[in-house]
């Protein structure tokens, strides 16, 4: 480690907050940022990983007390720096890329103004030369047709372009250090891959990158070094290959195990039987009018059979029509053509009162369970309401059953008088699952049920769904953009693109030997961990 290549030196960094109550969020973190290398800081939300990055910018937050034995950026000690001196470093020596450029770029200003701002603030170039540098930065960030994009606002760009524009703004003043805080979270896998490649390119050009993420898959894709953080403490630290292959600490192992698709998946029992299929779908089609009135097919000619006790994974990027399929399966949207049969009987195209009496048999689990709970109700009211729908009207019996349901989804009974609002994301999803199974359904439609959850919680919820499926012999349609999750839970997989089936077949076959190029592209974009040693 030659000193010339060390762009940042951090020794025993500690961050305390005074408000709203005194607490230490980061304790004795030490690392260096080397030219040409990517350091990944990994941890769950609340581990202190974002604060670490922001401390390097002097933006740890209001009321933060930052102490360290040594804190140097490009050779300059920065502890106790004045705001004015900090501002000279920010943007010029260190760039910051945040999650989701939709909210990380000012939505009211064109991209060019956002990128140009860093140049104007640091007096780089002149009014005349700055536009050229803006275009150059966009080009470096891999934005096609940069002149046109520069005039647009972040809301007019696609997720991937937006994120690249954000990267362009961070690198416009050519800082040597780039801090990327969850830069790919919420992006589709192909776009995620492109952004990570971009970070790799930056590092290869001789910059230092600090990558902050919760996803071990992202780490394995690009990081040279890893620092695992939990509750503000370093758990483990070292070269990425060592930590990914031979994690020493149990927590690191649990993070690795939580990456979907890399657990020992549930053993899928292939018990063929000739009972009626849970769902039989043929030629399902749905059009929606465009703003100018012309109909657009959002779902086109989809057919499948879901056998009882099995799981069908519906995978595709945003806009593929997955959720519309889900709504039609639930009988909430009528298909324009095609039919759905539920447990052998017609389900689409029948009168709502008739359907209502059978709704208990098919239930749904949402990405955002909170919005599916009446805000006035407590956990108890939610469950009693669902049991009422299932015909259990006797209050003591219903209360007993509610307790059983909570136990089944692994929730303590003491949360029963609480509002879901004060529960954690994982607990809320468990309440939603308890409600869904309260009516003794045969089929569950799960629409991105774990996308909003932390990796470890995600793994726990998937496990819960799996065990419930076995115990209750549930059939599931599992909708997700995440191939890892889909591969782990599904017996069959259907790949959707622009409302059409790209590929459909047994999960094993599709995962090991995808036939369609689009499926292959999706798999290549998905992040894989190296096999554990």
């Amino acid at each position: 480690m030659s000193g010339a290549d060390t762009l940042a030196h951090v020794e025993n960094l500690t961050v305390r907050f005074q408000r709203p109550h005194p607490r230490t969020v980061l304790r004795d973190i030490s690392f260096t940022l080397q030219a040409g290398r990517i350091l990944a800081i990994v941890g769950e939300s609340g581990s202190g990983k974002s604060v670490t990055g922001r401390s390097l910018l002097g933006l740890a937050g209001a009321g933060a007390v930052v102490t360290a034995q040594r804190l140097e950026i490009v050779g300059q000690p920065v502890l106790g720096l004045s705001q004015r001196a900090w501002r000279r470093l920010r943007g010029k020596e260190i760039g910051l890329v945040l999650q989701d450029a939709m909210v990380s770029l000012d939505p009211l200003r064109p991209v060019a103004a956002e990128i140009g701002e860093v140049l104007a603030v640091h007096d780089i170039g002149s009014r005349g030369t700055r536009p050229a540098r803006v275009i150059e930065a966009l080009t470096e960030a891999g934005v096609p047709r940069p002149e046109e994009r520069a005039r647009q606002r972040s809301g007019e760009l696609s997720g991937g372009l937006r994120q690249r524009a954000l990267v362009a703004a961070a690198i416009a003043a050519r800082p040597r250090i780039l801090i990327a805080d969850e830069p790919t979270t919420a992006l589709d896998p192909t776009v995620q891959r492109q952004i990570l490649d971009l970070l790799r390119t930056m590092a290869e050009r001789g910059d230092a990158v600090l990558l902050i993420t919760h996803d071990m898959g992202v780490v394995s894709a690009v990081a040279d070094d890893v620092l695992v953080l939990k509750d503000g403490h370093v758990i483990e630290q070292g070269p990425a290959q060592d930590i990914l292959r031979t994690p020493r600490h149990a927590y690191t192992r649990s993070l690795l195990a939580a990456v979907p698709g890399h657990r020992s998946g549930p053993s899928r029992i292939a018990e063929t039987s000739d009972e009626t299929p849970a769902l039989a779908v043929s030629g399902l089609t749905k059009h929606y009018p465009r703003p100018d009135g012309a109909p657009v097919a959002v779902v086109q000619d989809i057919s499948f059979t879901l056998r009882q006790g099995r799981t069908l994974g519906l995978v595709g990027e945003s806009g593929a029509g997955k959720s519309t399929v889900g709504r039609m399966l639930l009988g909430m949207t009528e298909p324009d053509a095609g039919a759905v049969r539920l447990l052998g009987d017609p389900w689409s195209g029948i009168a709502e009162p008739l359907r209502r009496s059978r709704r208990a048999a098919i239930q749904m689990i949402y990405q955002d369970p909170l919005s599916s709970f009446d805000p006035r109700l407590t956990v108890r009211d939610i469950l009693l309401d669902a049991l009422h729908a299932a015909g259990l009207r006797d209050k003591p019996a219903a209360l007993r059953r509610a307790g059983e349901l909570l136990a089944q989804v692994g929730l303590p009974e003491r949360i029963i008088p609480q509002s879901p609002r004060i529960l954690s994301g994982g607990q809320r999803q468990r309440v939603a699952i308890a409600r869904a199974i309260a009516t003794n359904p045969r089929v569950l439609i799960c629409d991105e049920p774990v996308s909003a959850l932390d990796v470890i919680t995600q793994a726990q919820v998937l496990e819960l769904l799996d065990s419930l499926q076995k115990r209750l012999n549930l059939s599931m349609v599992f909708i997700s953009h995440d191939l890892g999750v889909i591969g782990q839970v599904s017996d069959d997989i259907m790949v959707l693109r622009d409302g059409q089936v790209v590929e459909h077949g047994a999960a094993d076959a599709i995962i090991t030997a995808p036939k369609h190029p689009y499926t292959r592209q999706l798999f290549e974009a998905a992040l894989h961990l190296p096999k554990a040693a």
Partner: protein, 292 residues
């Protein structure tokens, strides 16, 4: 027009919602407001407890006396005790305010619910009426109502109610649209509940949920408007003791006796402020349950 405007309206109603962290306990200002409102209610129900002097007792020898220990708010041109007149003026002012907000919520509620529950055609028609009610400045609408109904305390209250009903109709309609397209109503449908049960146990209670704080905020606004119209001579007439009428009465002597202007107006301001603070606090609490 309407989509944008609904959000605007919500922005007005929700302006105070997000101020400061949610689920903060009631602060000093809320307790002070409750105390003041308790006094206001006491003054409205038993004015004699607070002000034993007769508000219509004329004593020309003690006209225009400035505030003193004998006459806290001074005396007016006829030597009547201004404090007593302000206290006794509470009842009509408050009653008119309450009748106004009741009218506003009734008119707004009928229009808003009709729009939400009446289907597409009704919604379109009602939305136009709501647009017009909302396009018109509330006070001007109230004035037009008075021109039609004639000037009296009761017509004043109804006029002010109609004048402010547009905003409530909009909020109720917007809230109704939010609730009826919400995830939890969809969830209730998916559970297989009957439409009637969903309407009465899910949709209507959730539409009504934000109304209590609106009601509290609305009384303050209605009192200000109604006293303003009384001040213009369109409601309660002097020598009747009512806050607006007291201010109207004082106008001829503004240069001579400032206390006749300051105290009745201060009562309106303090009452409206207390109702505003309490309403905001209630709103924040309701919102806290929504967003915490």
């Amino acid at each position: 027009m309407s989509g944008v405007a609904i959000i605007e309206q919500a922005a007005v109603a929700d302006a105070a919602l997000h101020q400061g962290p949610a689920r903060r306990g009631p602060g000093f200002a809320v307790y002070a407001s409750c105390f003041i409102l308790a006094l206001v209610v006491l003054a409205a129900v038993w004015p004699h407890v607070l002000a034993p002097t007769d508000p219509y007792d004329i004593d020309p020898t003690s006209a225009f006396l400035p505030p003193s220990s004998a006459h806290w708010f001074g005396t007016d041109q006829s030597g009547r005790d201004a404090f007593s007149r302000v206290i006794h003026g509470t009842r009509p002012s408050l009653l008119i305010g309450l009748l106004s907000i009741a009218t506003a919520l009734a008119v707004g509620g009928i229009l808003g619910l009709a729009a939400v529950l009446g289907g597409r055609a009704v919604d379109h028609a009602v939305a136009r009426v709501i647009d017009v009610l909302f396009a018109f400045p509330g006070l001007i609408l109230a004035l037009i109502c008075i021109a039609i109904l004639g000037a009296s305390p009761v017509t004043l209250a109804i006029a002010v109610g109609v004048g402010s009903s547009g905003g409530y109709a909009r909020i109720i309609r917007a809230q109704g649209l939010i609730v009826s397209t919400s995830g939890y109503v969809a969830a209730a449908r998916m559970l297989g509940h009957a439409p009637r049960r969903i309407l009465f146990l899910t949709i209507l209670p959730n539409i009504a949920r934000p109304l209590l704080p609106l009601f509290t905020l609305g009384i303050g606004q209605c009192i200000v408007w109604a006293t303003g119209l009384s001040f213009l001579g369109l409601g309660v007439q002097p020598p009747e003791a009512e806050w607006g009428a007291l201010l109207a009465d004082s106008r001829s002597y503004t240069a001579l006796a400032w206390w006749l202007t300051v105290f009745p107006g201060a009562m309106i301001a303090v009452t409206s402020l207390s109702l505003t603070i309490l309403g905001r606090y209630l709103q924040a609490r309701f919102d806290g349950r929504d967003a915490a």
